[in-house]
């Protein structure tokens, strides 16, 4: 059963990220439209206690950045962007949650390129349901907007008209599939 209902509280339990179906990606305005990419190698965990306390943590390997051109993927790994050699992982850890009106707000710390900043992800969590293989699943769709310069990801190139080719604001989109931990 697929559920699109939203929650009034986070689902109690310990949930492990299903990395195959989950997508952790980014989108940023570039030239004339929105450019998107994702990280293929991701993991994460959501732990929600009976008392409502919760921890969401996740990480993504920079070397697994996935865009439609391997030259661009190579460039994204370099010091011009994420600097995979020195900072091989992106991380997020949230311990402050607010669920109201069907919306979830996860306040935490995002680490990109060795810089950690407070960031809030906002979105929805789907109620737990059984999958065809007898496992319980839950899901979340969360988005945060950050200024990439705050994390030292400052590459740009000027356009002939004087503007910059790449926007400062980047949306980080997480479509998370979780499986209940045994």
């Amino acid at each position: 059963m697929t559920s699109t209902d939203t929650m009034t509280r986070l689902p109690v339990g310990t949930w492990t990220l299903d990395p195959v179906h989950s997508t952790i990606g980014f989108e940023v305005e570039y030239l004339v439209g929105t450019f998107r990419g994702q990280f293929r190698d991701v993991d994460g965990r959501l732990a929600v206690g009976d008392d409502g306390s919760a921890t969401l943590e996740g990480s993504a390997r920079v070397a697994s950045v996935d865009v439609k051109d391997e030259q661009l993927a190579a460039h994204l790994q370099t010091p011009d962007f994420f600097d995979a050699e020195r900072f091989p992982e992106l991380r997020f850890l949230a311990e402050g949650f607010d669920v109201s009106g069907g919306e979830v707000r996860a306040e935490g710390e995002l680490t990109i390129k060795g810089v950690t900043k407070p960031v809030a992800f906002v979105g929805t969590v789907t109620p737990p349901s059984e999958d065809p293989f007898g496992r319980t699943r839950t899901g979340a769709v969360l988005t945060a907007k950050v200024d990439r310069h705050d994390f030292g990801v400052s590459w740009n190139t000027p356009l002939p008209g004087g503007d910059k080719a790449l926007a400062d604001e980047v949306a980080i989109n997480a479509e998370l599939f979780f499986t209940a931990q045994d």
Binding site: E70, A74, T78, P79, D80, D83, E85, R86, W155
Partner: protein, 187 residues
Amino acid sequence: MKVLGVSGSLRRDSYNTRLLEAAAELLPEGVELAMLEGLKEIPPYDQDDDVEPAPEAVARLRERLAGADAVLFATPEYNSSIPGVLKNAIDWASRPLMTNPLRFKPVAVTGASTGAFGAVWAQGELRKVLGALGARVVEAAVAVGHAPTRFDDAGRLVDEELQGELRELVADLVAAVEDRREAAAPA
């Protein structure tokens, strides 16, 4: 620690080559700077020729870059940009992109010109090119304008302020190599 000096000028009495020789005198202990030779022998880049085995001069270039812990470039400015001979060598070195010997390698850029600005536009372009192929480009830069007045008749850099700036540039480059080694060391 091995720093490779790459001068973008082929001229015998090049100010940029002298600038690298001056940098070689300002190195911290345990750091040596050797000059890249043979830039003139590198053929024009042609993807049809970019096969194994690479042309001999190209293989030597790639080997020298791979064997260096860091690279210090000194570029003149030709028509507001870097000399074709330098760009050509970098183009050869950059392929294949994912495994090129400059990827993640600490590099620094300086430059000398006879005019007032010290090849700042060429330096900017060189930094952009090096960033695009994945090098770790140190932020500091040293621009040597009015080059004929900065060197004595024996070709030594005599401007003390520039010596200080060059020493700092080299120190930043060395620090970038140390950071890289630290990152590579098992935790």
